[in-house]
């Protein structure tokens, strides 16, 4: 599967009410182009995407939260799988785009023999899947986004030689990005904090 095609489908299936959290580089750059002004926190550093998303999901228990992570980011903090399995927010979906390499670094492999979905299963996440075709991916993604339980999907993707869409996330200050996210959250009727 093409990474960009998988991202595009995810964007098409997510409504404006869903909160998304991304890791660094490729995911953040593509998502900022696809996702527009829908509330999203972009570019969390290696290993921090999934636990951060768990925290957001706990703050908005009635709203769908999607963690958009990468294989390199996940494997640097695999203990987050254990925490996520323990907390298992029913409103959280994690999608890991596994291209097998660190960002655009060519043949610098992340994990050559590791099955991330099995790792997640071993950590205690009840619903995991590895997806290798667009048909499998779309079916599993639609089901996960509709489910009232935590699901963890690993999409095996090919690296795009050139990204067909790149957003402006990289040009914005991270404080500015955060403020935009917080402002969007504060406009939501179920925001739990002070406005």
């Amino acid at each position: 599967m093409k990474h960009s095609a998988c991202m595009k489908l995810l964007s098409d299936l997510i409504d404006g009410e869903t909160l998304t959290i991304t890791n660094l580089t490729t995911n953040a750059r593509m998502w900022s182009a696809l996702h527009g002004e829908r509330p999203s926190f972009y570019g969390l550093n290696m290993g921090l995407c999934l636990p951060f998303a768990v925290g957001v999901a706990l703050a908005f228990p009635k709203r769908r939260v999607v963690a958009i992570d990468g294989d390199g980011s996940l494997i640097i903090e695999t203990s987050s799988l254990i925490t996520a399995a323990d907390v298992r927010p029913a409103n959280l979906t994690a999608v890991v785009f596994d291209n097998g390499v660190y960002a655009g670094m060519g043949e610098t492999a992340t994990a050559r023999r590791t099955d991330l979905a099995k790792m997640a299963e071993g950590a205690g996440i009840a619903h995991t899947a590895t997806l290798r075709t667009m048909e499998e991916y779309e079916k599993a993604l639609r089901a996960a986004l509709a489910a009232q339980e935590f699901r963890f999907l690993v999409a095996k993707v090919e690296r795009d030689d050139t990204l067909p869409f790149t957003g402006s996330y990289i040009k914005r200050s991270e404080r500015g990005m955060k403020e935009s996210f917080v402002d969007a959250l504060k406009r939501l009727p179920d925001y739990p904090g002070e406005r």
Binding site: G55, V56, V87, L185, E194
Partner: protein, 170 residues
Amino acid sequence: MDAEPARLIIEALKEEKIDLYVTLPEEPTVSLTQAVQADPYFQCVTVASEDGGVALTAGAAIAGRRAVFVTGIAGLLKGGLALMHMGPQYGIPVFILASYRGDFGDRSGISGSKLQVFRQVGEPFLQALRIPYQIVGERRTLKRTIRDAHFMCRTSDMPAVLLLTGEVLW
């Protein structure tokens, strides 16, 4: 930590409407964590690493939920990279209570030389990140310090750390 400081901390957390308690359990604060787990007011999340604890607490805090991360000074150092990102980089109000292992009075069985490293590195580390912190060693000031630190944390968009020691901890 005995029952009284645990009670005072819980009262202060409730007064601050902090109902999400995130921790990687460690010996000096285990009585606090057990009391929190027994109290239905709190949702208690046990994390498997301090980096994840900082990130999870940050995610909740940025989304408007009042949360605290309870760890030790060694855990704070372990979670240092995450703290750097959530603090100086993003400006997210992560509120942290950390046992000050290695401060005077620590007779908990870890070798003194190991404890001294925590003492030597802990505060300079927080200073390097420019994260506000305060040492709390008196029970009579505990509740007020928690309230004041949490107020500064959530109104300044920066983490705040209270290092628990002295008669609060030992």
